[in-house]
Symmetry: C2
Amino acid sequence: MSKQRPTIADVATRAGVSKGAVSFALNGRPGLAQATVDKILAAADELGWRPSNRARSLSVSKAFALGLVITRDPAVLSSDPFFPAFIAGVESVLATRGQALVLQVVTAGEDEEAGYRRLAQDARVDGVFLSDLRHDDPRIDLLVELGLPAVSLNRPDGASPFPAVILDDRPGTSAVVEHLLDLGHRRIAHVAGPPAFVHAMARSAAFVSTLATAGLEPVAVETGDFTAAGGIAATRRLLALPEPPTAIVYANDRMAIAGLGAAQAAGLTVPDDLSIAGFDDSELAEYVHPGLTTVRADPFRFGEAAAQTLNRVVDGEADVPDVELPPAQLVVRNSTAAPA
Amino acid sequence: MSKQRPTIADVATRAGVSKGAVSFALNGRPGLAQATVDKILAAADELGWRPSNRARSLSVSKAFALGLVITRDPAVLSSDPFFPAFIAGVESVLATRGQALVLQVVTAGEDEEAGYRRLAQDARVDGVFLSDLRHDDPRIDLLVELGLPAVSLNRPDGASPFPAVILDDRPGTSAVVEHLLDLGHRRIAHVAGPPAFVHAMARSAAFVSTLATAGLEPVAVETGDFTAAGGIAATRRLLALPEPPTAIVYANDRMAIAGLGAAQAAGLTVPDDLSIAGFDDSELAEYVHPGLTTVRADPFRFGEAAAQTLNRVVDGEADVPDVELPPAQLVVRNSTAAPA
DNA sequence: GTGACTGTCTAAACCGGTTTAAACGCCTGT
DNA sequence: ACAGGCGTTTAAACCGGTTTAGACAGTCAC
């Protein structure tokens, strides 16, 4: 059968040249007469030849793929609005370069190092995205040891040999707090993410400092875990305070929506009795009742920028600069109002 | 530097045998003396040798990877609880076999065929998961043409050369309807997913037939698109009916939660004025107020089963049988109650 | 006419495995 | 002594590209 896909040798014989010439022509390397190049490209076209990724991988020692290791509990990951859009952004870049995205989901609690080690040892990818950055993140040293190029999503707090793509959460968080202050709130609490995460800390630090600028202190800063269950628990603790807050700022929408449910279950009316704000502008934020005031980032562009930056590193470019994206922005809906 | 990873030749010289012998030993092929095998394995161990995926890929013409093409709008994908857990299940199988998962997100509206074509032409994967099956799904013929093995998630309605992994949605849907009937509802409506999808049709067919068994007809069957926005719109249409339903069954949680918001925004109390039920048991279902009555499937196990089944096909096994998973189950919470 | 140079192209090695055909050593039977 | 057969091992081809060293022809200067 003629079902076999053509190889470079087929193209070479058809064009009446050597394998090497075909390779040169296809990679646009100098040293071939223009007429020869045309002849080769025509032959390749007629045969419908596409170079084999596998053979290329072997000879040039590249995988033509990038890797994303997601270290989360599947249940938590389930409703995280960030990754799907981020991945879509990444793919929009990879598609143009014929690269693939290799996903590795490591269940939280398992050995996350193993995820990166596998990717590196199996030489599956040319570089990885470093997401959910933590303080003194051990993965940075690990990647250096493994010799795996990377790009970090947001800036690590320690030294890092990798460029960072930065989407500053702080202006958005500050805007939420200022919005609440403008409405007249003075008793404002925060439900933060796990402090081990750089972005969780950035958000809660921005929360505290914005309040401080107004001469206020938080009623309380509860630590959540970014899950709905954690959001509920933190909310209940806040509502049980002797002097409960009149507004709660959550570090993500999931906790905020769960908190909204908890407040309503406790008999409160939002926003009359309690104002609530989230972070992410997930799809449901707009459609729950009342609509959730939140902060919108652009994970798709984040993914695009991260992929572009990682590719520059993978391509061997030295000193790839950090990329700063437009900061997240406040979206006001009906879950916030003046306190009673 | 000794940083270079060892090759099969290094192992061979160290063990004092030929490359071929090492290959035989590692793949457990007969024809080698046990003593030699031990010697080779010891040498490989000392050198920390792991065979190169790339070289293996080239010589055996396999990718050692499976592919998942997701054809959705990123915004929609964002809050879909199915895929993350499904993927985690898939990975739990792949990890044990040293396989990788290649993800391809095709933005809805783009050419989804191209996604599969790329995966096949680049020979990135040995097989793919066929998700979000549609009626007379054109991808089945496409995959046959591309010669790409596959496993279908749920059973296609036409003929298919691929095994299917089946998680029957119908018992869960029927259970929801029966639950509402037991509560005394007689005016029940449905917000379905796009009828082009096999699973959307299965759910709405189960809805209608369960009602019919009780001698009832649906108040209305509105078509949503599985998004929150679609859920809102469909809900508003239902509530605007001259005789609105006392209960609404949604084809997924996202639409249900949005519908809950719409009902509340319209001044209704759930479940007193209107009962609402979803499908998926997404994380938030438990934590919105009131907690959402819904149907729980197990996407993680779905992923496991799909990966195992696909691997049997990829391994060349003939007539791989379909796998039937335990059906989805009703989860009763507070969004359903007897009608006023 | 010779040597140097330039532009074009090819042969062959190489990436790191797998696989096939053949060779080797050894025992057995006659 | 020799053929046959078996168990074990190896050399070499192969997968399909890339890359390097060198061959070859043509031009130019001297």
